[in-house]
Amino acid sequence: MSRIITYAQALNEALAYCMDQDDSVFIMGEDVGRYGGIFQVTAGLQDRFGVDRVMDTPISEAAFVGGAVGAAMTGMRPVVEIMFIDFITVAMDMVVNQMAKMHFMFGGRAKVPMVIRVNIGAGRGTAAQHSQSFHAIFQHIPGIKIAMPSTPHDAKGMLIEAIQDDNPVLFVEHKKMYIDKGEVPEEAYTVPIGKAKVVRPGKDITVVATLNMVAKALTVAEEMAAQGVDMEVIDLRSLCPLDREAVLASVRKTGTLITADEGCHTGNMGAELAALVAEQALDSLQAPIVRVAGPDTPVAFSPPLEQAYIPSEQDIKDAVARVLEYL
């Protein structure tokens, strides 16, 4: 049980488990076969499950995301890999107008159990078209679950959950996390999509974070603890369903909210949480809500600019300092 593997390996185990259990599950994407996926998440699966169930696709995101929709409607459980979230734009009609709407539009008669795996994030020098973090826009499209696991443990459990879910799930990974290591049980288990997790209870300041911002928030929390500030860190884990209760409960306790997510500032995941709190827990708020986020710019290539883009521990500390002024 104290087995340590990477985030990528955890995802790989989840895929292997589901494919083993259910012959409706199959994988499609570019270079997912022999190559094992650009981040090695599907490594070895083609050897094990064959070329029909681990399919290398042409560069045709619309065809294979739409293909997944059609396959899902007819009894399969496809898992699609989109190499970078930036490329989901080429398949956007299939995501927004087909995948997300079929169940509703057909009066509940069709189900679309499929998963689209994407990764977000800057930090690998891949510039403006390969480093975006615009996952929040899918919150605004009803009909899509959005999972965001922040640890290898959750990566495995949430991916199994996503594959078994009868809904389309956008599964958001962070490209800098694939080599992160953590404890992951060997056996199969699920982690719910739609339940946030209090990863560090605290009473003074609430931070709601996603993906690798969770670890940064925890580091800051430890530092602040030494200074007598007791931070509560919540790993949001999914944008839809959104665990409003968990966020509201924490804010009601601490009277504060800091959000931390790599997406650009305007219109990000933090905006929705801030609005939620301003709508439903205003009375409890003792300090301004602060969003730690990427700036409202594309991601630049130049290393110092790219580094400056990425929301940092220092940014979280600055947010905490701002909030503390009011407490």
Binding site: D23, S24, F26, D52, R53, M55, T57, P58, S60, E61, A62, A63, F64, V65, G66, G67, A68, V69, G70, A71, A72, M73, T74, G75, M76, P78, D93, M94, N97, Q98, M102, H103, F104, M105, F106, G107, G108, R109, A110, K111, V112, P113, P142, G143, K145, D166, N167, P241
Partner: protein
């Protein structure tokens, strides 16, 4: 042409249902009974009828914004169809989809589609299912000439070809995408020539000749069933009505009365009736009986639709997630 007389009579009946259904919708729409958009299939009946006569319930189709003909030919019942057009709770989609989104997965109808070219990848997906789990089953994908310029056409045909999927792509070339003529939207005449670019066979047929469509589709479908991969089948036809009900003068802004008239003369049903009489498959009286039967069936569907309730407001929040 060794088509069993029963099939021939069924082809006729299907075409008549589609025509009569659409004429009723036209009238109901004009009188304000049907809300939203209605894209009628009048003049193109031979294609849906001819293609779908080769399919069973376990085969799949994807349809388009102009989908009534396809779904009728694939076996959709008129009552829930008409109720859907009315937005009623008893409709195929509980009234939540309307004309452009009629679907019945159990009948293999994976939905009409409001996105021009939106159905092609979905048919590819159904083809994947068939290949992996149900060898022998096929997916047929209907789409228009103008939609053949959407990138999804390219990606889907290429994907289906390279993975030898059991998909038949049926292009209904009626010469226009809304007001834009084929000559304005592509520099080719036979869309089927595009098939070569994917390494699949391409065939162009007279889409107003139901037996020709039936046979050509049959060949492509059999090929797919045998695991030999996809085909692109182009059927040339024409739409008599405007792009949608409400298009001024049935498209008078972009085409001439003479053109329309010439195609009305080339009516697929009239042509088939001549064939049936000449070959003594059906008498005029028998044909008349079909029309009457169909008429009453459609009237029943209207009554059903009109008497059905609208969905309760709570339905708005249902089916967003499963």
């Amino acid at each position: 042409m060794d088509i069993p007389p029963k099939t021939v009579r069924e082809l006729y009946r299907t075409m008549v249902i589609i025509r009569a259904f659409e004429e009723k919708v036209q009238d109901l729409y004009a009188r304000g009974h049907i809300p939203g958009l209605a894209h009628l299939y009048i003049g193109e009946e031979a294609i849906a009828a001819g293609v779908c006569a080769n399919l069973g319930d376990k085969d799949y189709i994807t349809s388009t914004h102009r989908g009534h003909g396809h779904v009728i030919a694939k076996g959709a019942l008129l009552k829930p169809m008409m109720a859907e057009l009315y937005g009623k709770e008893t409709g195929y989609c509980k009234g939540k989809g309307g004309s452009m989104h009629i679907a019945d997965v159990n009948l293999g109808i994976l939905g009409a589609n409001g996105i021009a070219g939106g159905g092609l990848p979905i048919a590819v997906g159904a083809g994947l299912s068939c290949k992996m789990k149900h060898p022998g089953q096929v997916a047929v994908c209907f789409f228009g000439d103008a939609s053949s310029n959407n990138g999804t056409f390219h990606e889907s045909l290429n994907f289906a070809a390279v993975h030898k999927l059991p998909v038949v792509f049926v292009c209904e070339n009626n010469g226009f995408g809304i007001s834009v003529s084929q000559a304005q939207h592509q520099a080719i005449i036979d869309i089927s020539i595009r098939a070569a670019g994917y390494g699949m066979p391409g065939v162009t047929v007279d889409g107003n000749d139901v037996l020709t469509v039936y046979l050509a589709a049959g060949e492509a479908i059999d090929r797919a069933r045998r695991g030999e991969g996809p085909t692109l089948l182009e059927c040339k036809t024409y739409r008599w009505r405007g792009h949608h009900e409400g298009d001024p003068n049935q498209g008078g802004r972009y085409r001439s009365k003479e053109d329309i008239q010439a195609w009305v003369e080339n009516c697929p049903i009239k042509r088939f009736e001549q064939y049936l009489t000449k070959n003594k498959v059906m008498t005029k009286k028998q044909m008349q009986a079909v029309w009457e039967e169909v008429e009453s069936e459609i009237n029943e569907s209207i009554e059903f639709a009109e008497q059905s309730p609208f969905p309760p407001l709570s339905e708005m929040y249902q089916d967003v997630l499963a």
